[in-house]
Structure formats: structure tokens, C-alpha cells
Symmetry: D3
Subunit: 234 residues, 6 copies
């Protein structure tokens, strides 16, 4: 397996759109998470190992502000997540309470964690934006997580936006949202995706020159030759 830093270097120029195409050719259709959207335009493409958090629905006897001090709390989880990882939180699609606000996002940023991805919401959006943390979430809501959710554990297999996420799977997020690369398929994606991205760049160039799409995208043999020729001269 390649080093994570090499993987990140290889995937930096590759969009999540291209990664989903590559994974689809491997038979994987359920890799893009419904729900997580960038909280602001222009967040840089971010790549990291998933550090998972799991919430279940709130029950009034369990989900209280007091629970925030428990040793199995979101606070403890944040201290456990390694720098460079991406926190992926399974909020079961609940968007009527924010799982994290300015304080927790501030601490996540401080710890060098690369980003936060959730199918739930964040709260105190003004403060979260100020923290500078890159966030992909499904909404913004004022109430605290305990109004709707109870935190259970970290680094378990979870669902997020309809996608299965296991600890240490790779997550890539950009303006199209969050895509999961199963740990076992990372090498294959690194091998194939950058080339796919180059082909599409060439096609885009051709389109800019006025070329028609049929035969060009996907390229027929003639165009494939022309592409290879172009690629070999770069």
C-alpha cells in the first residue's frame, strides 16, 4: 500500500466526479454520500482517512447536556481523531439539531483534523465559519445535538448519507460532496483516476475548440489515438 501522503498527492487533481466514475467501473455505485454539502463555496478538495462517529436517536433520559461530560462523549472522540483524518459522523440524516458548533469545530481545527463530514447539521453557523474548519454537512440548526441525538461511539462501521463507512476508508470531498473509497480499492483508484482526469481535460479542450461530442466522449479509436499522441507530447 502506498503512503497516505503519496495517495493524497496523486488524488489532489482528481475530482470526486471522476472518482465515482472509476469506482462505478469497479461495480461500486453506493459511494457518494447524500446530504453532505460544503458549508461555503471554494473549500479546497480534501482527502483523508475516515474517523467515524456514531449517533443514535435521542431519548430524554439519555440525551441531556449532562451527557456531554461522559467519557464516551463527542469531546473525547475529537481528542482521539488523528491529525489529517476526516471526521465522518453518522447523524442518521437528522437535520433538526446541530451535532457540533463553534467550540467543537474550533477544537477539531486546532487538532489538525482535515475536515468534518456528516449527514446531519452543524449549529452556530457563524461561529463554525469563523473557526476555519472545512465542513460538509446536510444543514444548519440551532438546537444542540442532545435535542435529537445521543452520541454512542467512535471508530465503528457507520452509515453516512446512505454509504457504508468503515474506519480508515479513504474520504475525498470537494464541491460535489463526499465520496468514499473503500480501503481495498484505494490503489486501483490511484492507478486509474489521474489518467481518466487527463483524458477528460483533453476532451474539454477539444470541446472548447468546437468538437462534437459523439465519438469524442467517450473517445472512439480515432480520438483515442489523437489523445495518446497529445498526451505523449506533454
Amino acid at each position: 500500500m502506498s503512503e497516505l501522503s503519496d495517495i493524497i498527492d496523486a488524488l489532489k487533481p482528481v475530482s470526486t466526479a471522476t472518482i465515482t466514475t472509476v469506482l462505478l467501473k469497479q461495480g461500486l455505485r453506493r459511494v457518494w454520500m447524500r446530504g453532505p454539502r460544503p458549508i461555503r463555496p471554494g473549500q479546497p478538495r480534501t482527502i483523508g482517512r475516515a474517523f467515524t462517529l456514531r449517533f443514535i436517536p435521542a431519548r430524554e433520559d439519555l440525551a441531556t447536556p449532562a451527557s456531554w461530560a461522559s467519557p464516551r462523549s463527542t469531546r473525547a472522540a475529537i481528542e482521539e481523531a488523528p491529525p489529517g483524518s476526516i471526521i465522518v459522523a453518522d447523524a442518521r440524516g437528522v437535520t433538526e439539531a446541530g451535532i457540533f458548533g463553534d467550540i467543537l469545530c474550533g477544537r477539531i481545527k486546532q487538532r489538525g483534523i482535515a475536515g468534518l463530514v456528516t449527514d446531519g447539521a452543524v449549529r452556530d453557523i457563524a461561529g463554525v465559519l469563523e473557526s476555519g474548519l472545512s465542513v460538509w454537512c446536510a444543514g444548519v440548526a440551532a438546537p444542540p445535538s442532545v435535542a435529537c441525538l445521543t452520541f454512542v461511539n467512535w471508530q465503528e462501521p457507520i452509515g453516512c448519507g446512505g454509504v457504508a463507512v468503515y474506519p480508515d476508508d479513504l474520504v475525498v470531498v470537494d464541491d460535489d460532496g463526499a465520496v468514499l473509497i473503500p480501503a481495498a480499492l484505494v490503489e486501483e483508484v490511484v492507478r486509474v483516476a489521474p489518467e481518466q482526469e487527463r483524458v477528460e481535460a483533453w476532451i474539454m479542450d477539444e470541446v472548447a475548440k468546437g468538437a462534437k461530442l459523439p465519438g469524442l466522449y467517450p473517445p472512439n479509436e480515432e480520438n483515442l489515438e489523437r489523445y495518446k499522441d497529445w498526451a505523449s507530447r506533454r
Copy 2:
């Protein structure tokens, strides 16, 4: 704590409607599960400790028929659940695949498990009905669980139909659906609910005789006296 058999005896005449009223007076509003409905009318009221199963979304590389033979499979889970328990399966509300069909329901029934409750679906409904297992589910679907879901583990805290379920919480199911009694509140419910049920039976009697509702339900002091008198003579 009372013996489970005593608890069951005490709660047998108490409807889930009454239990939710009692729990509401304790401040608990999130105890009735959205989704689970009886698969046939007239299933007996069923009470048991929750044995939890957890599913996450399917990923094509994980959720395959081959996974059914894994040691952490639904098959193994069913063998672990104690007789008299109620299996509560967190299917994340997915109703486009059936978590269990005739074979698994047949085995659950064989093992003396009291019932199956899920916010997902079952498959092969004809076979499931034939198995004689009492089932509360959110739908019926032909595809196998692996088409949409991956089984993860048993006896973890889960969500089911918007309710947090911890292993060994008490579950009561009848024609109104499935209600959770947190383990710590069972004694209180046993103490209060049967009396509440008796009051309502008396009120129902009064209604049958033509009594008006205001002052009767809930009873004002005069009617409370009449009820106590009636109750003392039974």
C-alpha cells in the same frame, strides 16, 4: 428489580397506548417506534428484553450473498439471542430489501424468541406468515438484505424507528406498534400502568352508560371518588 416473568404478568393487560402515557408523564416522548407495524392483525401483545441487531447501508464490495456465511452474520446473531427476548433490528428505515425471510424467521421462532421488531422490511411474506413468528415491520420487499444493507453487529445500542434502544431495555408490542421502556424505568411503569389501565376501563364503562367526557376523562375529584369506590368493591 422484579423478575422478568413478574414484569410480563403485570404488563400483559396494559396497552402500549397506556405505557406511552405513563412514560410521557415521566418526561419521555421518544419511546414509540415509527415504522414497525404488525404483519397480521391479532398478534398477541408481546413483552421481552431487546436483543439488538445493527445494519448499515450496503456497499457492493461488502454486501454479497457470500457475506451470509461470515461469523458476524445475522445467522450467528439469531443463535445468540436468548429465548423470550425480542429481536429489534435497526435497518435505518430501509424498506426496499427484506432483512429476513421464511428461513430466518422459521429459525427465530424455533429458538423460542418472542418476536421480531424492525424499522425495515421482511421478505417472502407468505413464508414468514407461515413460520408463525410474531413480526412488527415497516414493509415487505422481495430483495435480500444484501441488496441494500450490511449486517454489522448485535447487542450494540441502536436506533429503531427514531427510538434509542439499548440491549436489555424492555420492549412491548401490540396492534399500536412497538414501545420501548428504558431498563431503569421498568419498575415505575409496572407500579403505575396497571392502575392507569383500570381507571380507563372504568371511564370506558361510564362512557358506555352515556356519561359526558369533560370531568370524566381525566376524572375530576368527584369522579375520582366514584372510581375509587368502584375499584374498592371489585
Copy 3:
């Protein structure tokens, strides 16, 4: 305006399907309520003036069991509804709490009210069925109304299942659900619908004899003549 008993006699043989067709020809498309379904098969077609109830969402400081004793309660409303009317309750589509259970349905039946229609749920379904009241609702749930809803008032304009209902509009319910006839259009429906029902009965007869649909339904001139001939001989 005709007497209500005459209206009921005229509309008894007319299905809600036919009434919606007649109203559509008058330009009304929003008259069938989404949500209300018969709680048991074979409830007789029921016709009556709407007696409206209005709920809003619950707030923990308002919606408590104590509120059931307030003078503006559902209990008081039930005593106000006239015999022969149909109670139409705006529950805002909330199906996670039952607005009424066995006791209230028992009293409604006692008072000679013709039926209960709601876009919400009922609770204690076993008891409701036993009460013998004809009910059209959107679900069954164990929790009491106060878990999700606060009762506000009666005989106000409401929405129910996406349809505007004003006090004293006419409501017709059968196995296809609940249809509203605005008070001002009742005469027109009474004038046209029974004839429409007769034409369809004749068409059904023709279909039973093997007739093709084009030209028959709706009837072309030739078939209209045949129908008139048939009708004149009955």
C-alpha cells in the same frame, strides 16, 4: 338548499370516485384528502356536515396530560359536535401520536356522530375498532396526542390532507377515502352525480358483455343514444 336528509339520500348510491369527477368538471381538483384511509374494510359510505377540529404542533409547556381538562379541549369539542356530523380533524399530517383512542371514539359514537376523518392517527386501535365508530385516518400510533400535538379550537377553517375544509362543508367517505363538497356546490353535485353513476353502471354492464372501451367510455353519440334508450326503459 335541499334538506340534508334529501342530500344524503341522493348521494348514498354515488361513490367518492364519481363525486371527484363531477367536481373536476366544475374546476375543483383539491377535494380528495391525502391521508385518511378506512380503519377497516367495509365501513359504509358516510355523508355528513363537517365539524372541524384544529391541532397545532405540541410544545412541552402546553401539551401535557393536564391540558386534557381545559375547557377548550378535544373533550369539550366532542360534546359540541351535532349528531349526524362528521368530525374532521386537522392533525397536520402528524402520525406519530394518536389524536383519539377508545374512550373518545366511544363517546363520539355514543353521541350519534356519523364518523371521524383525520390526516393524523388514532391510538389503541383495538379499542377504537371495538367502539364501532367509522374512522378514516392516516395511521395508528400508541402515544397520546399531547406527545406531538396541541388542540386549539373547533369549527374554524382547517386543512386536512391538503384540502381546505370549512365548517358545514359536506364530507363523503367510502373505501376510496374522504372527499369534500364545498357547501356552495352541494346542489350541483346532487343534480349531476346520480346520473353520472347511472351512466357508469350501464357502461360497466356493456363491458361485462364484452364491449370495447373506445367510444363507450366516455360514450360517443351512438352509445349515448343506446344508454338513453336503456335508461328510459328502467
Copy 4:
């Protein structure tokens, strides 16, 4: 390609649950239609070629009772569908109007069409049940189709309940709902599914005798041997 009657004979004992398992092993996960449910319990398993109908949303200038007399109407479509086929109607999941009522269902039955499958609703449920037609639909609604939908054409590729249906694909419906077998995969399903059904019958037998699930379902080598032995002696 086998004769249709041979295909039907081969698939009669095979449940839709088993067919979805077989198709999943071929990589097809989107073959079970969300929405279509049997309108009554105990409708026989039904198999036939799909005859497709397509609706689009209504527009008040197009979808009028007058349009029922157009040559491209549902009436004409019903006359075109061959006996033994199953009508599959793309209603775009709209359940607030019934695409067909008693008259059209009566005519469909008369013409020897095997069944009606739709992700929409039917109307005049009492009349539809009386017609004796086997129907799988997503709801019941009083309003006529034109209140919400405009009929466009027949025998085009459609979507129904999230599944692509091409004319002459095979459709199988039973109590678990409606499953599509792409025309090109029918032979494979016929080859594999009946054997799969037999294995499951044997497993069910073993379960009835008290066998544990792990190693049995799916069968390990030892159990596979025992099954083969059992199968060879039948």
C-alpha cells in the same frame, strides 16, 4: 429462447424473493419495484410480458375528461395489450389520483390480460376488487387520473417504482410485490431459480427439524452434500 408458456411453468413455483436473489448474483440490484403492493391478500403469483403505459404530470389544458376520448388514450392502450401480458403503468409515483377504476379494470380482465402493476393508485377500489383483476398498486384514491396525470403513450421504455421497464421484459408479481426480469436474463433465471428454490425448501425442512443456521444457510460443503443426497432421492 424458450416458449413463454414453458417459462411460466418453470417460474410458477419460484418466489419473487428467490428471483431477486438470482438477479443480484448477476449484478442486478434494481429489479424490485417500490410502490406496487397487492390490492388483496392471496392474489396468485402472476407472470407475463410487460405491456407498458406512460403518464406524465397533468396540465389543466391537457388533462381533462374530454381527453379520455382521444385515440392515444388509456382506453385504446387497453385494447392493444395482448392477452397474457401484464400492464405496467408508469404513474411517476403519484398516488393522489387513480389511474384506473372499475370500468377499465373490468375491461382489462375481460381481455384476458394477466394483471395490472403500477407505482400509482387505482380508484373505486370496491369496483376494482369486484372486477376480479389482479392488481399491484401503490394506493387507492378517489380522483380520476386526469386530476393529476396525462396519459402519453404505450409500449415505450418506462420507469415504475424506480425500475426501468422495457416492453416485453418479463414481470413476476406475488405477495412481495413486482419484480422485473430483463428479457435477456430470462433464460438464466429459468436455469437457476428453480434449483435455488429447492435448496431453500430443503433448508426450511432442516430448520423445522431444529437445525442451526450457520453452515446451513447458505449451506457449507457438508450440508451441500446432504442436500444433494436428499435431492437425488426425490
Copy 5:
């Protein structure tokens, strides 16, 4: 009860996130409205008494452009709302028609009303933005309200985004959306919330200095001492 202007002064620095935390500690979970979002970033936090409007579904015979001239119209309601109030409109979550456009929003702004909150949509978004009115809504739609909704009345109890709103309850809106403070709880919130906001500001400071979360948020005794010390010196 404090003067409204004092209340506003006290709550100006308090986020809706903090208010929901304070209310949760009082047992209120249903105070944040699902749906209303700021129509533009950076609208100032706004506080005012609720002036309620109520809509029900449209019926073609009632909801016509002509109804705009009725004395019980939205036009009349806008003239009744006092300066400084916040109009809260119950649109039943309908987002396919805009309740107000440029003209009505222009007039609301002119009258000195502090803002508009709705679980419905507005129309002519370009004109609404130009009016300068602060708006929190659930969408933007071109059609006029009468396409989907009928206005009924003002200053009645309503639901908005799942929250019960009574005339003269206090409403606070910022970038996290709209929060309701029941009139009877305003004093308590004013008493507690500003202090809660101060604690969180101190915690945020500590986080900025690199402090870990456990023991800090919520503060344990040691940190509470440090906070008090810090607060006393300000």
C-alpha cells in the same frame, strides 16, 4: 415583565444556538422551526413579538386572485401588524407557491415590521431582496400564494416549521434560523442566556489557546473556578 426594549438589548448578543440550549434545560425541545432559512447571508439577528398569519390549503373556488381584495386578506393583516413585530406565517410547509412577493415585502418593510418568518416560500426573490426586508423562509417559488394556499386569519395560534407559535411569543432569528421563546419563559431566558454566552466565549478562548475539550466544555469544577475568576476581572 421587562420592557421589550430591555429584553431585546439583553438578547442581542445571544445566539439562537444558545437560546435553544437554555430552553432545553427547561425541558423545551420543540422551539426551533424546521424550514425558515435566511434568504441572504448576514441578515442581522432579529428579535420581536410574533404576529401570526394562518394559511390553509387552496381550493379552486376560494383561492383566486379576487380573494386578495377581501377584508380578511394578507393585505389587511400586514396593516395590522405592529412595528417591531415579526410576522410568522404558517404556510403548512408548502413551498410551491410564494406567500409574499416584492410588493407585500416592500409594504412590510415600510411599516417598520422587523422581519418575516415562514415555513413556506416567497416569490419574486429579486424584488424581495431589493425591498431590504429581513426574511427567513423555506424556499422561493414563482406562483402566487393562491395557487396553493388560502389565507384565513391573523393572530391565532399557529404551527410554523413544527413549532407552536402563539401571538406575542418572542421570536429570535439569526443565521441558524428561527427560535421561539414562549412568552412565559422570556424572563428566565433573559436571566440565564447572556451568562451562558459568556461562558462559551471564555471556552472558545481557551480552545484558541489549545485547551482540550474534556473538562472544559462543559467546564468541570476547576475550569468553572478559572472562568469565574476570568469573568470577575472583566
Copy 6:
């Protein structure tokens, strides 16, 4: 029928909000598409004939990257659409895959097509924005269309966001979304809408001067006189 360029000139100053009001007065309520939103603020109002595309759900045996090279592909469709037209794509509301990305949007722009409207999503949002194409869509998603959808055909009647769209109907899009003008009603809208827009401009002026709404909007006779006077002097 007027020339298209004259129609466009006449409708340029008319908002979609005004067009829906005009069409409502003609009895048309289903003309605004649910789903399509501008991908960026400030896209110019755009008017053109609809060029329709139709997708159905994906089936794994049909919707593959290979299908992109088929002669009935989206690529071929784009080459067929005439300059000045607006592509309206029926994606059945599926927003978990993007129907088009940077390359296809780049080509659409190149061909002089006026805009893209869909109830589905686009992918590679960064690239789509860069292409400069005006787009109204219901979301952004990384996966390619074939992950969820199969392209069927062009220039058929379709549904888009709940609206029936026939080839060559007129489509108008601005910041309030997409509105359809049936081909047969274009003349009427051109005749009436600009005047309606002028009346509203005058009313807006009056509001700016502090006029009250009742009697002004809609104008009573006195105000209508004042308007006419104002209009005659312009």
C-alpha cells in the same frame, strides 16, 4: 403566431412570478417546476423553446459508461438541440447522480443553446460553473448519470418537476425558477403579462411612497383610474 424573437422581446421584462399569475387566471396552476433552482445567483432571465430529454431509472445491465457511445445518447441529443432552445431534462427528480458535467455543459454552451433546466442534478459543479452555461437544477452530485439513470430519448412529452413539458412549449427561467408556457397560450401571455408587470411597477412605486395595501393591490376602481392616468402619461 408571433416570431420567437418578438415573443422574447416582449417577455424579457416579465418575471416568472408575473407569468404564473397570468396563467393562473387562465386556469393553469401546474406550470412552475419543483426542483430547478439557479446554480448561481444573477443568471439572466432566459426564454426559449423546450428541447426535451427523457431519462428512466438505471438498470445495471443498461446504464453503463459504455452506453454513452450509443446513437440514442445524451451526446447525440445535445447535437440535435437547436441554438436558442432550452434543454429540459426529465430526471424523475433523482438528485443522487449528475446528468451532465463540465464536458457536456461546455458543449451545450458552445452550441448556442440558451440554458439547461432539470429536476435532477449536475456533476462537477466547478467545471459546470466555468462553462458559463445558465443552469437550473435540483442539486449537485458527483456520480455520473448512469449510476442512477438511463437516457431514453429526446423531444418526447416529459414531466419535469411536476410539470408536463411538450417539445416546443415555451420555457422562462429566472431567479424564481422555471415556468412553462404551453405553446397554445404564448400569445395570450404576451398580450397580458407586460401590462400586468407595469401595473405592479406602479403599485411598487406607490408602496415606496407609503401607500397602504388594501385597495391598492389589487387596485380598486379609484386606484385603477390613478394607474391609467399614470400609464397614459408615460
